[in-house]
């Protein structure tokens, strides 16, 4: 397997992982997803403790015999992300605005900021989505879309565009997801009762950190926060070696 193939495989892995995390946060687990999870391969030694712990918790939950598991997970989804109180502290509310506004309100500045970024990337939400655009499922899906575009650019040998997209992902990760998700992750230790959603909290936390490390490795620690420059291709090519060794 060549270095290029390795790098493409890692990008595909990122797309899959962001897609899975986004789906798990977006709505309750349905039969189709449950069946998929039960046949999924769960990594057990990725090198990132939280990722391993999160996968292990979800795996252990799936391993246990459950009766009416979908109802149990649906109840826990509500307990985790919706809650029953109105004080702003009754659940792990999956909105960036809640964690970045003083009064823990939805639809605040953070939502406007991500909306601008989505539109700049040519992405509009579907009409069926009635929640705020700063929902974690959408932010994770945004990362997934950017990762898919980066993969497409890489496969077309457009390294400059690939570099720009990876840089965009890292900036979004730093400026948004990682600026507030750790607080939500703390709440996800408190509100869900099933190991499934507790594990999801831990897994996401670990994965976002490890993905930032990966992007930093690929882009170089001192990569410019702005648009890519002439040396983009060299940096990207240089970083691929690290990526191939580290893997995901």
């Amino acid at each position: 397997m060549t270095i290029e193939n390795d790098f493409a495989a890692v990008l595909k892995g990122r797309i899959s992982t962001y897609g899975l995390l986004s789906r798990l946060f977006r709505v309750e687990v349905d039969q189709e997803l449950y069946d998929t999870l039960r046949t999924m391969k769960f990594p057990s030694n990725t090198g990132e403790d939280d990722v391993d712990a999160g996968y292990a918790m979800i795996f252990d939950y799936l391993e246990q015999p459950h009766q009416d598991v979908l109802t149990e997970l649906a109840i826990d989804y509500v307990r985790a992300f919706i809650g029953s109180g109105n004080d702003g502290y009754s659940a792990a509310y999956p909105y960036e605005s809640v964690y970045t506004s003083p009064k823990r309100l939805m639809m605040q500045d953070a939502r406007d900021e991500v909306l601008v970024l989505y539109r700049a990337a040519g992405i509009e939400k579907k009409d069926s989505w009635k929640e705020g655009e700063d929902h974690i499922a959408l932010e994770l899906e945004f990362e997934k879309i950017l990762a898919q575009r980066a993969l497409d650019a890489f496969e077309e040998n457009d390294e400059e565009r690939c570099y720009a997209l990876l840089l965009q992902q890292r900036n979004f990760l730093e400026d948004h997801l990682l600026s507030w998700y750790p607080m939500m992750a703390e709440d996800m230790k408190k509100f869900p009762r099933t190991a499934f959603y507790q594990g999801l909290g831990v897994l996401t936390s670990g994965y976002l950190r490890s993905d930032l490390d990966f992007l930093n490795d690929v882009l170089g620690e001192g990569a410019d926060q702005e648009a890519p420059h002439d040396g983009a291709s060299e940096k990207l090519a240089c970083a691929e070696t690290d990526c191939a060794e580290g893997g995901e």
């Binding site: 999924m40 391969k41 769960f42 990725t46 009766q67």
Partner: protein, 303 residues
Amino acid sequence: MADVEVFEIDDDFDPLEDVGFDGDSQDDDVRPDTDYQIPIPDADKSVVPEKRELEPNERIARLLKGMPGQGPRLLHAIDLAREEVDASELAAALDSAFPREVGVYGSSQVVRLLEEAGALSVRVERVDLEQGESLDGCSETNIACVCEGEAVETEAKDACGKTTEQIDVCADASCADGADVSESGPAYRVPAPEAVRWYKATPEGLAVLEARGGMSAVRAALLEEPRYLALFKRILEMTSAEGGASMKELDAAVNTDPLCAEPRRFCGYFLGKLERLGAVRFEGSWVAAPLGREALASDLFTE
């Protein structure tokens, strides 16, 4: 004004002087530690009883008391589990017996509640659904694992002679601890096949069923008010007819009866009692349950 002239105002009076509280202190929030506690009146009489783990029969009784409208359903679930039955079959049979159940508890929850109360015992078994063989004891942890890029792609057989497809669901010797199998690079784990839960009624559950669920319970309950036996019989006859009976028909047949005059009773009183006993149930209209038909055919109303 006169009062002021009469009383002498002591501007230096400090009500907190005796307790040594200095209002100007910078450490207002720091209270000195002291062993003193305000005495609790009659503290010796306030005894919290030691928490006692309830026996199964107590838990079952409490469950039935807490869900009076679900009594027949709970008892029927115990009845269905006289012989060991798997969870899905039990839930399906319960759904079939109570097809129009509108309570918030699904059949699975009813079974789970009975399990928690001790009316049903459970045995968990992992079964390879494709092979039809039990995998209990295959490994201590029942954790399945595969080696990356190998187990799922090749058809080589492992030391146990099983194909790699079987390795997917059964930790083999190479997966020593049921987990990491590769020294370099990530290993993966795949959830074992879904476990099957087998339920069987416990002796305590069967005892409650005999006491509350059979003809004897119906007989005892109806004979508590022998003067109303005729009304109970009338309701059971009407509900035994094809298509059952509507509430309106039952009201017309019962509410005007002289037996209901003093004390004033309405049809709902009798119907509710029969429903709680499991003798009638609502299926779009009120119909007699098998227990109700049995009661009607017995000598209960001819004695």
